[in-house]
Symmetry: D2
Subunit: 281 residues, 4 copies
């Protein structure tokens, strides 16, 4: 064949397989979003339209890629997984833009994203990762809310606001917000304080027996991690599972994901098995 | 700090640095484009609008990411590089769609892409990779042109066309095209036969002295690979280089990239140094 | 500094960290051991001295590298871990050789080994890996015992023996051994049938309550995998742990490691905590 | 088959191929050699027997592993390559010990080594790596020679010697050695000042035409890097090459490897082709 002489270059490619039986977290970050949000005049400290657009794109990604929720236990090629998710996210973000913003996008200022995958071997590691992100979200939002109140309503410059907040703890910031601006931080929108979780929604598990957190968390873990090799699920079982997952509504929630309650009520998330579809959505 | 307890999860992230001083090729593939091209009724065997849209998106990516041409010698994080390119490509593809197709995109059928990076240590390896792709393009296009002529103009079914082409060599396909359909394959559009190369355009180097291919290729290689560590270029030099690169027009060409001529006339591509801007574009 | 000009080459090194919180299995293989065992006239199908030498070297490695048993949860650099284990194994193998073989080693025929690390995220995966190796050991040893009986006692050539065993199942081989050579395979040495496990020995856990395998296996898993991040163990706790581990005897056993019993009786292996030192060894 | 149920664990293994067509440097480090050299009373600052033993082991490794010199352009599995080299080195080190030291090795104090591979895409990178190591060797040896002279002959404590050398440059150390101890550093053994290079020896290339360093270095590079894909060498060519390499003597030299001369006179090292065997060795 004419091109066989060049085909040796295939040897330069290498597998970048992910380790099976781990929880794969794909993080997506906006590229140059400081400049981007300036260009399209995002509101400070939080632009509701921009957050809702992110959430809508995230929902669409979960809807488009059914593997996303059953990612646990799935071995896949690293770059393919990550680039597919980032590309799908980008496509929906650009496509949905006009539903959230009146200004049309300009070709020189298109949004773009980068992403990377991290693997967590146990449910404990995964939940600690999620807890870390939510704790971070709270800390950053309290800071930003106070910072922009000092600027937009207190008339401070950026530097003055920075200096004012230097060395303050959470209580101090709550106090500034309340005494200077009459803001009770607890009444701020949940989306800003807790971030957004996107998942397939099934019927919430009734908490009939009173579980103490520790034990049920243990059992939750066992169910997901130790039920045997993924290969034991047959192709028809997987097909059936996907069908059920497609029927489920993908929802956006702004709730506490650090405590056990969220996970206990939604066992389908960590168990990798669809729940019962809710009678009423 | 409140969230320090969870921060240990950072240890699960790992660097995925690319090897410095290599040529990094990022390949982008459309995901499920068979179904996608059906949905939007792409013409067979080549849809000019679809190819032009791909090229326009590729041009936009090269324009947006100045590092792309000076990728040689640049160390970067693997996932960030690949996802950025794929995301930028996707954003432009969705954004530019209405300029090429009358049908609007539907949210359930958005285009998406995956990508991966491969590293080639020498110019020879890089050029062999490019040659491989162009040889492949020719072979596939000759097959597809004949296959779809047999179906669309010869009235064959898919299976009949497949059987007819089984075991044929290039000469046979040329003969079928010419004798059955009056098509001289050589007159087919260059874009279909050779594919598209996208690069920054400078003034073509005059071929004053007659180089034999071998020698000049050697020199070309040396200049790029062995001029010393990348760190020797100062920040101001890099800034100046980027400025010149931004002024250059990004062009699309459908030319032979297997022979030496293409590379010899455009030394700026492998030398990683901008050329002279052409007097007339 | 005089050599700073060259130091940029450091950028070519890259981290190859192992994923934390996984079970790391390092497999060691003899290189060219077919030729090696011919040279030093190893007995077929099993040479007891050679196996005992391997075991002695393995014991020494476990003794020298206290991290080996608490490998779980430890993040380490891939190459350093693997090469250290292989090098330590080789040093003891060469050093111990005269205690097991009368022929001295010759410089042109020194033993050497290669190794690689594989990571398993859960206890289930780890135990399945161990079960796989032991099942493999049994199958290979039954084959080899029959094969060499046919040759050494049945007078067959290699090819005749191969043909005789083609398509036979375990029962057939047992029957050949018994009817032709009066060998009851069950009476063969345990070391040949089950392989060797090397571990630190503590007081066997009394099986007071009758556990059904499933449940206890679950608990065993939970204890090891989910007790929180490794960083929660203080330096002094780790030092104490190492001290206790150094006191423990490293033993070689040829027992069933597929069933739960082995693991249930020795909870210190999967729990990563030293047990009680046995009153009498 | 009985063990098929467990075989899924194979999916946890992953390829760790090295990038083809690069120079692979495997670095070997003694583990805990501070303690080791104390135990066996190595002389300070340099123990000639210990260095000769290292060199003898290195020679044996080059002799045992013919791929080592034709490593360039060879694709191999990372862990296998590195562990094999480290294991072979360890085996020879332990085996050769009695030829260099009167004290026998003790089982609790066996030497062991770790190793890692780094890849360099170009001859320039490789030579800069080697230059870096040799420049480092010189700087360290000058420091150590002065440091131990101050202690062993000047009667200083470790701390006093450290303080004395704080902030000194090369000239200061030369002056201390000469004026205080009558040592002309230039007369110190070449092995201490330059380190040791181990390679296959062929007939030195006569320097008939006067090359300027730059040009010949360029050509040297081209020959090795750009002569086409490694796959173009036939199996019989490789076999012939290995045969010639086995005939060559492996030598130890303590010479300048920073300047071009060493490499120009021994073109077989970077060209990956055996030279002419010297008439007289």
């Amino acid at each position: 064949m004419a091109n066989s002489k060049y085909e040796y270059v295939r040897a330069f490619e290498h597998d970048d397989n992910l380790l099976p039986n781990t929880w794969i977290v794909v993080r997506i970050d906006g590229r140059g979003f400081h400049r981007f949000s300036d260009r399209y005049k995002f509101q400070k400290p939080n632009d509701e339209r921009a957050l809702n657009l992110m959430n809508a794109a995230a929902c669409a990604v979960v809807r488009d890629l059914p593997d996303l929720i059953i990612a646990y236990g799935v071995s896949d090629e690293y770059s393919k997984l990550v680039t597919t998710i980032v590309s799908t996210f980008t496509a929906h973000y650009v496509y949905l833009w006009p539903s959230f913003f009146p200004t049309p996008l300009e070709p020189e200022f298109l949004p773009s994203f980068d992403g990377r995958a991290v693997q967590y071997p146990s449910v404990r590691n995964l939940r600690d990762y999620m807890s870390w992100r939510q704790a971070d979200c709270h800390i950053n939002n309290l800071y930003n809310t106070t910072f922009w109140s000092l600027i937009l309503r207190g008339g401070m410059s950026n530097t003055e606001a920075e200096n004012r907040l230097q060395g303050t703890v959470s209580g101090d910031k709550n106090e500034i917000l309340f005494s200077q601006f009459g803001i009770n931080y607890n009444n701020e929108p949940e989306m800003y304080k807790k971030g957004s979780v996107v998942f397939r929604d099934y019927e919430i598990k009734p908490q009939t027996e009173k579980n103490d957190g520790g034990t049920s968390s243990k059992e939750g873990d066992f169910d997901t991690g130790e039920e045997g090799p993924p290969s034991e699920m047959s192709k028809s079982q997987i097909a059936k599972l996907r069908k059920m997952q497609k029927k489920a509504t993908v929802v956006i929630r702004h709730v506490d994901i650090i405590k056990d309650e969220f996970w206990e009520q939604r066992p389908w998330i960590l168990s990798n098995k669809p729940g019962k579809l809710p009678a009423v959505d």
